[in-house]
């Protein structure tokens, strides 16, 4: 893999305006994805994960009033590209799958047609060649009877199958980055596992990088190479998976890990995190996590802790990284 970087987000901030109020959804994040890497972006809902992913594709809704920073993809700043060039990247170099496949598939177009579109548009395939390619793709994502599936409408598939159609759509042009925005959240547990395995297989066989967005640390436990934790529009900790699970530094990460049910914790009461995620409209000053943090000091209320490198590949934004948590304050 070397040291080349596929995607490098620097100091990205995104602000919405709604009802004449400015809502900072993303407040200056840095994120780096290497080619072929499985990068998980974890956070509770409202942390800014989806906004981050939509900024990469430049598909943010029109009420975004401020978009700053840079998103470098293969040395091009995506935020500076013309719409024309950007459109050529979408679906071809960077593609995306979504949380609820039922809503993200066009109800009145056949599954095959929807997958074919990008192949024909980006790679100039003929109708016949595109059809063959769709059959291949459907087989690859585990849809039985690809020939029949091509002519089915989305409502004729189960949710899991719809997600497979979406995946086929997303990987149709062999993108180098796949953004997966909670692709398993609306699925049954068994199907979740299948989809994750499918994504892993695809990542390995085609050297595609994946930015996997989820609120569920448990689900990326075995899949991710690197995990970044987001809280209130900022990345608060980022580390290779093993490091994050064995020596988490940020109190929020540690509380998150404690809230995952596991075999070792059987019989004990699962820990939750007190309080709720701050509303993006009024994020607390200083460290956004301080009202819920068992370690919070005066310093945390006044100053924003920067995301600093603690050791190789491990970054954390806390004034007291790794300090022992009192279990029951």
């Amino acid at each position: 893999m070397g040291t080349e970087v596929l995607l490098e987000i620097k100091d990205l901030s995104v602000e919405f305006t709604a009802h004449q109020r400015r809502i900072p959804a993303v407040r200056g994040i840095d994120l780096t994805i290497l080619p072929g890497q499985f990068h998980a972006l974890v956070g509770e809902s409202g942390a800014g994960k989806t906004v981050t992913s939509l900024s990469i594709l430049r598909l943010l809704p029109p009420n975004v009033t401020s978009l700053r920073g840079s998103i470098k993809f293969n040395d091009h700043d995506l935020l500076q590209l013309s719409e024309e060039v950007m459109r050529n990247l979408r679906g071809r170099e960077i593609s995306m799958i979504f949380q609820e496949p039922a809503k993200y598939l066009n109800p009145s177009l056949k599954a095959g047609v929807q997958v074919m579109e990008s192949i024909r548009y980006h790679m100039g395939y003929s109708e016949k060649a595109a059809r063959e390619r769709v059959c291949e793709l459907f087989e690859k994502v585990g849809l039985s009877d690809p020939e029949l599936a091509i002519d089915r409408y989305p409502h004729e598939f189960s949710v899991g199958m719809k997600q497979r159609v979406m995946i086929a759509m997303a990987i149709s042009c062999n993108p180098s980055l796949l953004i997966a925005d909670e692709p398993t959240t609306s699925l049954d547990v068994g199907v979740q596992r299948q989809i994750i395995h499918l994504l892993l297989d695809l990542q390995r066989s085609s050297k595609m990088a994946i930015l996997y967005i989820t609120h569920d640390l448990g689900i990326v436990r075995y899949a991710a190479d690197v995990i970044s934790i987001m809280y209130a529009g900022k990345i608060i900790e980022s580390a290779p998976k093993d490091l994050l699970f064995t020596s988490p530094l940020h109190p929020y990460t540690r509380l998150l890990l404690a809230s995952i049910p596991s075999r070792e914790k059987r019989g004990t009461r699962l820990q939750g995190i007190p309080g709720t995620v701050p509303n993006p409209e009024d994020i607390p000053p200083g460290c956004a996590f301080h009202p819920r943090c068992p370690l919070a000091q005066q310093k945390c209320k006044e100053n924003v802790p920067p995301l600093v490198r603690i050791e190789a590949g491990h970054r954390c934004a806390c004034f007291f990284p790794g300090k022992e948590l009192r279990s029951n304050p």
Binding site: L57, L59, R90, S95, M96, K103, N106, L109, E117, Y121
Partner: protein
């Protein structure tokens, strides 16, 4: 479908005006008129007449015109093609206006473009099509004689009336297209379509419009039904020998069989069109599929 002709039947019996008197002439001797009444059957009680009429209609027997003595069905079928082509051309015009302008308004909503679209739609809705027809005639047939003034023998004759009809109906459909498009463009599958890198035109017309047209289609079908029967005054303005004019002159002449047959025919066509629209709907919307 039977309701309208039934109402028409009894209204004809109630309103003043005696077909026998019209046929015989107003100064004819009263015995002649009385004989004619017996011959036409209008001397009997309305309910008896109604029974007889329904029975003959059930055998597809519409009677003959009191004035010209021609079979009513032949009169109707002679006139119907013109009315049908006017309705088809009018609908085409309406869709040609409504779809691009509606999409434009939806895509650029709350901008100047959208406001112009809405202003146009408001004017189009408020302007009666016969008045617009007169204006069009004055402009493009009298002042600049590009189109013929009256008659209905060539396609050229249909241009102005169908434009008048199309602007009026299209103005209504435009709002519908706009609302439906705004709704569809806000849906998630649009983001997915954009994330595939499709050009905006494909996203709009292939993805959004396909779904937006479903509600529009229903209304357009109903409007098409109205056009088949409702272009009466427009046919008068443009002197088009269509079904509307046939019925209108029949009303003036108290030609009962023609009026009754004509309204029944229009009601039947109206129902048929609605039925076809339902079929078409299931064809366009894969989620409603019969069998």
């Amino acid at each position: 479908m039977l309701l309208i002709p039934t109402v028409v039947f009894f209204v004809l019996r109630i309103i003043p005006g005696d077909p026998a008197l019209v046929v015989a002439g107003f100064d004819a001797p009263s015995e002649v008129v009385e004989n004619l009444r017996v011959k036409l059957g209008t001397h009997r009680p309305p309910l008896v007449q109604y029974e007889e009429w329904i029975l003959s209609v059930a055998q597809l027997e519409f009677g003959t015109s009191l004035i010209s003595n021609e079979p009513v069905l032949k009169l109707i079928l002679d006139r119907f093609p013109l009315t049908l082509s006017l309705a088809v051309a009018g609908m085409l015009c309406a869709l040609l206006i409504a779809i691009p302008l509606g999409v434009m308004s939806a895509v650029r909503r709350w901008t100047l473009w959208d406001y112009w679209g809405m202003v146009f739609s408001q004017i189009g809705i408020s302007m009666p099509s016969f008045w617009l027809g007169i204006i069009l005639l004055l402009l493009f047939a009298v002042k600049y004689p590009l189109f013929p003034l009256f008659g209905g023998d060539s396609p050229w004759h249909l241009v102005l009336p169908s434009v008048a009809l199309g602007i009026n109906r299209g103005a209504v459909l435009l709002r519908l297209v706009r609302t439906a498009m705004i709704e569809e463009l806000g849906k998630e599958y649009i983001i997915a379509a954009r994330s595939k890198g499709l050009p905006e035109l494909v996203v709009r017309y292939r993805h959004a419009l396909r779904n937006a047209l479903l509600p529009v289609l229903t209304i357009a079908g109903i409007q098409f039904g109205y056009m088949l029967g409702g272009a009466i005054i427009l046919e008068q303005v443009f002197s088009l020998p269509g079904l509307g004019r046939l019925i209108l002159s029949a009303v003036f002449q108290r030609d009962f069989p023609v009026i009754q047959g004509g309204t029944l025919f229009i009601a039947a066509v109206f129902s048929l069109v609605n039925f076809l629209v339902d079929l078409l709907y299931s064809l366009v919307n894969p989620r409603i599929r019969v069998g």
